[in-house]
């Protein structure tokens, strides 16, 4: 898979950890559209993405490059997801394991997005260390058993890189599948 550029859509509910993940893994300065929050959302966190985050990741010793497009999380910014979702190769869906009130809507969003895009997904279960718990949550959101699930602590950059590795493995696997289909 050398010499290729892949587009990764990083999405998920408000305050799940999307921007943190892109900040952690991007090797170029992240283009972000963070602004201060207001109203009830200020109780959750101080800054929020209003348009997009953009970061890049290049595989060492290879020309393979990933472009990471992060969406805002709130429903009122859904049009940004629609703008950014074209030609996506993998969806990285970030969800906060402890923010249980976001899970129902997150499941609806995840299923709708994957039905629409028909690309593989990596489920990054933030604030979670347990593989089984992460897998259970991903399944409850409607993720397929074949989809990669990564328990992570996105406050920690190393944890973000674990997600990137899963994204790369998923890209590899989907290319194998494509090859088989062609053959």
């Amino acid at each position: 898979m050398s010499g290729q550029t892949f587009k990764i859509l990083v999405t998920g509910p408000f305050a799940a950890g999307k921007t943190s993940m892109i900040q952690a893994v991007s090797q170029t300065q992240v283009i972000s559209t963070d602004v201060t929050t207001s109203g009830d959302e200020r109780d959750v966190k101080s800054f929020t993405t209003v348009a997009m985050d953009f970061g890049t990741y290049r595989v060492e010793g290879d020309d393979t490059r990933m472009l990471l497009f992060g969406t805002p999380g709130q429903a009122r910014f859904r049009f940004m997801t629609n703008i950014l979702k074209g030609d996506v190769d993998v969806v990285a869906f970030v969800v906060d394991a402890e923010a249980t009130d976001t899970h129902a809507v997150a499941g609806v969003e995840l299923r709708a997005l994957l039905r629409d895009l028909r690309v593989p997904a990596v489920i990054a279960v933030n604030r979670c260390d347990d593989v089984d718990a992460a897998r259970r949550l991903a399944r409850s959101l409607g993720a397929l058993d074949s989809e990669a699930v990564v328990p992570c602590q996105l406050i920690d950059p190393d944890s973000g890189r674990k997600v990137v590795v899963e994204i790369l493995l998923t890209l590899l696997a989907s290319m194998e599948t494509t090859k088989t289909e062609v053959a």
């Binding site: 207001s38 209003v50 805002p72 709130q74 009122r76 910014f77 940004m80």
Partner: protein, 204 residues
């Protein structure tokens, strides 16, 4: 020099005077009416922001009538009664703007994170509008660096039916005005700048 138009409606001037001076929005003096040229440059207009002292200060001279006949006042919307107005008089100011400028049709004041603060009664209550404004301004702030600049002053959406003029107001809000291409942008900005104290609000 910035020419501050006075307005015959004394209540607006009073509102401005009553509000303590706050940092004002900075705007570029607009280009002269540019006909149909989609990418007309500000024809020789200086790019520097006007001197801040002219903005939030009420004009010292006596009130004069605006040159254009005032459009009929909009029907009073109880939600826009300034005494109970959660936007601190901003909604009334936006209605005044639409009434004052015949070729401005609506105005929306939004928080930088995409919530509605106020809108003119001519605008529908549509949650995606303030969110789109916040997203566009958020991205425009980044595009400023592409252009080598430091500060976003104005965002213009020039479309087949007119203009959408968007300004950051303070650092927590954005203002959008829907207008015909014929709108006097200099007058419009003077009006907005005069009301900046109300538009910026106090929820920082």
């Amino acid at each position: 020099m910035q020419k501050v138009k006075t307005i015959s409606d004394g209540s607006l001037a009073l509102q401005i005077a009553d509000v303590p001076p706050r940092p004002i929005m900075s705007v570029v003096p607009p280009p002269p009416p540019s006909g149909d040229a989609p990418f007309a440059t500000p024809g020789g207009a200086p790019l520097a922001a006007p001197a801040p002292s002219t903005a939030a200060t009420p004009p010292a001279q006596s009130y004069t009538s605006p040159p254009a006949p005032l459009a009929p006042q909009p029907v009073v919307d109880p939600a826009h009664d300034s005494s109970s107005d959660p936007s601190g008089g901003a909604a009334g100011l936006l209605d005044d703007l639409v009434a004052r400028f015949a070729d401005a049709h609506g105005a929306i004041l939004a928080s930088v994170d995409g919530f509605s603060i106020a809108r003119s009664t001519s605008m529908a209550d549509e949650a995606s509008h303030p969110a789109m404004l916040a997203a566009a301004v958020g991205l425009a702030h980044q595009l400023v660096t592409l252009g080598g600049g430091d500060q976003l002053r104005q965002l213009v959406v020039d479309h087949d039916r007119g203009l959408l003029l968007v300004w950051p107001v303070g650092d927590q809000r954005v203002l959008a005005v829907l207008a015909d291409r014929t709108v006097d942008q200099r007058e419009l900005r003077s009006f907005v700048q005069a009301g900046a104290a109300v538009l910026v609000g106090s929820d920082t």
